[in-house]
Symmetry: C4
Subunit: 313 residues, 4 copies
Amino acid sequence: MIHLVFFHSFEKVWFHRSVFLSTGTWVTFGSQISDEMAESVMTIAYENGVNLFDTAEVYASGRAEITLGNIIKKKGWRFSDSLTFAFMILRAETERGLSRKHIIEGLRGSLSRLQLDYVDIVFANRNDVNSPMEEVVRAMTFVINQGMAMYWGTSRWSAMEIMEAYSVARQFNLIPPVCEQAEYHYFQRDKVEVQLPELYHKIGVGAMTWSPLACGLITGKYSDGVPDCSRAAIKGYQWLKERVFSEEGRRQLAKIKELHLVADRLGCTAAQLAIGECLCTRANDLVTYIILFVLHNLLKLCRLEQARHRKCL
Amino acid sequence: MIHLVFFHSFEKVWFHRSVFLSTGTWVTFGSQISDEMAESVMTIAYENGVNLFDTAEVYASGRAEITLGNIIKKKGWRFSDSLTFAFMILRAETERGLSRKHIIEGLRGSLSRLQLDYVDIVFANRNDVNSPMEEVVRAMTFVINQGMAMYWGTSRWSAMEIMEAYSVARQFNLIPPVCEQAEYHYFQRDKVEVQLPELYHKIGVGAMTWSPLACGLITGKYSDGVPDCSRAAIKGYQWLKERVFSEEGRRQLAKIKELHLVADRLGCTAAQLAIGECLCTRANDLVTYIILFVLHNLLKLCRLEQARHRKCL
Amino acid sequence: MIHLVFFHSFEKVWFHRSVFLSTGTWVTFGSQISDEMAESVMTIAYENGVNLFDTAEVYASGRAEITLGNIIKKKGWRFSDSLTFAFMILRAETERGLSRKHIIEGLRGSLSRLQLDYVDIVFANRNDVNSPMEEVVRAMTFVINQGMAMYWGTSRWSAMEIMEAYSVARQFNLIPPVCEQAEYHYFQRDKVEVQLPELYHKIGVGAMTWSPLACGLITGKYSDGVPDCSRAAIKGYQWLKERVFSEEGRRQLAKIKELHLVADRLGCTAAQLAIGECLCTRANDLVTYIILFVLHNLLKLCRLEQARHRKCL
Amino acid sequence: MIHLVFFHSFEKVWFHRSVFLSTGTWVTFGSQISDEMAESVMTIAYENGVNLFDTAEVYASGRAEITLGNIIKKKGWRFSDSLTFAFMILRAETERGLSRKHIIEGLRGSLSRLQLDYVDIVFANRNDVNSPMEEVVRAMTFVINQGMAMYWGTSRWSAMEIMEAYSVARQFNLIPPVCEQAEYHYFQRDKVEVQLPELYHKIGVGAMTWSPLACGLITGKYSDGVPDCSRAAIKGYQWLKERVFSEEGRRQLAKIKELHLVADRLGCTAAQLAIGECLCTRANDLVTYIILFVLHNLLKLCRLEQARHRKCL
């Protein structure tokens, strides 16, 4: 019943020139896996150097946050250690938009479910055309000034929208966003490789990428159809199934087959290759030892994933 | 003993392009009706989609707030639900003016009576010539930064005064008002239909209208004099009685008779027609389904009103 | 043992175009009179419309604040009533200067002794050349933003210093002072009658005047030397004795004799005349009924003073 | 077992034109001396007018702060007295850099270990090239606005970096630093005597100097090699031993011999001479009586040091 969702949520963050390896909780915690499984996944991640956890109020209607909060409390994990630079990420992902009321009440609710006083970063998910940008940036500055978050970022915003937030922050002397969460894998490269570097150099906004395995496609598990134990077979993931069988999906699966040949020659899985490549992007901006450190842990996690994968197949 | 005050307080709010249907507590809660009646009126409103409640510290010298607070606590209503966009409105209506001291102490007192940590909007009632505008806007920004309110608005301010508040907010980088409460019905149209749209397009200030039935005149209940069970017959409402019998009042009652003929032809009451028309103003700026949703609930409430109306007559 | 100190502390405040009648606690509370006497003086003042109390941390090394705090708590007086516009004044008078540390810690100490959460106005006593003006204005803005005070004012600052504070507040978008405390009586008129009106019209800074009886000289009690029961005879008030017997003091006493003749003709005491004249200054800026209200209470207090005066003589 | 570390940490502060005599806790508290010894050293310092204590989270991994906090609590020392202008200094010295997260969490941890609500000054130790200056200054302004510190300063920053912090504070209307901590003794004079005075006159940043005895070299204890009971003989202080025996170290020891001849002629120790000279730098900017007061206490402390010195030798 493990759906290889673990790797799905590996993320790489350039943030003040540091690299974080993160694990997320989307579609998994509080719904598709048990609390015990969630705890052991979290523990392996934490003990292997994963120093960033991503969650959101809409994940399983808040249950992902409750699960994560319980695990952190039980384990006594600290996110302000002097040795590891650990981050607790929270995305104020909401269908309710980005009004001041929703940002503040949403974050308060999340902190309450997580049993935390603050998170390190709060993300504004998808720009909300109904909320004036001034209101969004003022609300984000408010939650930071209230001590509910250290930084704020954007998630799936266009480069223009990020620049508008920056401009509004400058106009009213508010706190600008530090990071954009963007999808990044073989089939989605333009934003992270072209637009975000430009933003980074102009206004210092970092990038945090998600979905390195393209919803699992790159693992090859959908190459021969949709297995029963895969996520695309779950009720409510019809959109994923449709994506797999679309013309675009078939083109991608063909390319993934070629990728597997390359991976075989390199002696690793295609998933390892894909994640490794995500980690190396713009590596010239980053200190080398962090990447090695990350890769070292990555290999452990890959072995874990393989073991799990086998159990499922 | 029900004086059709319920409909009096229906209000329509354009606020960030959303429509709210609201119910108020003026002249009713804590004075003209019992707490049980207040609770059942509130319950019907809340359950039928009314998502905005308006109260003020001067209503029945604070007793309206105590009644409202007790009902909300007893019912466990939440105003930060993810599905309904509910607002708790509070007007810092005061004869004491708008000094920093009065705004802050007034709001603290209201929150204490309402047993709430914050309200969604606090309104500055009537501009106070003795308080410098900078003091008013700084105080409103203070209560928002302290978390006592999400937004602030104005009530019965002139367009020039609203623009001055906006200008002061821009000059000192404070938070500008988001909304003006204005009287709006057949006999009072200029401000809402001409001035506020201009303000809305220039500085984004929305409109919240009150008194859609012109103090009950439009229902026709005063067309044949002042009935014993109407509000104009209550002690302390001499001003309303005088208004009904004034030359202007007689002219209005004549027009209301014509309106009743139109309503009869449309198969609804004049009150329904008047409220419906308020709701459709500037509908082109609003998303259609919200209006339908509102109208749907409106009909239920209209039926309720009719039932009550009959009991009184 | 009553030293007519009561009238000494009558003060008149122009503040947002309102008039306050105040009573102070200098040299009296916690030192020269018993707590019981302090309580009855306070009670008479409060019940007769005195709506402003002035105290400072240096008065009797903080004991004046403790006495005042105990009386307020015992009596249950509220300073945020909706009918009377009552103010609790606190002067952060300190020999320690106006560094951020001293302003904040000084006010915290005063609030603790007064058993209050905040005062209405905190005054910066005497400008401190060693503290940069930016630090003073930032600290005052901090205590207001923390909710420890509603407003801040200056005490015995020059017009240039007040203008500098205003300029710094404008430069860094901080909160400007609202009021200057200045000595004002027959022999000290220039600042209140010439300089402060100019400041008031240019930047809205009001005036609060103190010492209407010129340290008691105007009552005539020092006209025939220093009586045993007067303040100038108390240990530690040598400076007052010296002032009485100085050349300037003798000139003033001569003028006070003439004043007593005028008062006799008007059928009141010289003290009443002096206070009344303070109250009428710039009366054209003030609403008339407030002055009458104040004078009405003033007469009661004058009668009280006369009764006490007789007991002493 | 006393390693003359006491004098090492004597510091002189120009801060708002006041002189402070301070004692530090580096390399001593929580590691090289017992808690009882720490308490008696602190008590002698406090009772002799030392009004500034310097500590940092990295000193003995936080144990220095715990020791200091326990002593302050046990002794009931107050740092907001009206007579003595006492300061509690905290340096947010950290190897972790100056990100907002580290500054805030670091200071929170220190306050918790010190059992204090706030410190007077928090210092940003060494500029961190990975943290944007805007983030550093915003974080420092945040901790001051939250009431966790009164002021902030820099430690071992270049003049250009201090000016950048000042410029960023001006650009975004944040709070500028008030003080730079710099090494200052016979062999390190340029920054304190040339650069900092220029900064002080241009932007008002004061200087707090440390290491007046050049890590103990000036006492002459290393003139005949490294004694067993000196700090350079302790494990982990190899760098100090190397410095003593370096070519530069030998040149300095030669000059120190000449200094001892001068001190002998003046009838004091070289240490007294060195500290006295530190205290007199730019004395023309300072009020004389403070210096005398400081020197008076200094002599007592020097006698104490001599007594201790003898026990060790």
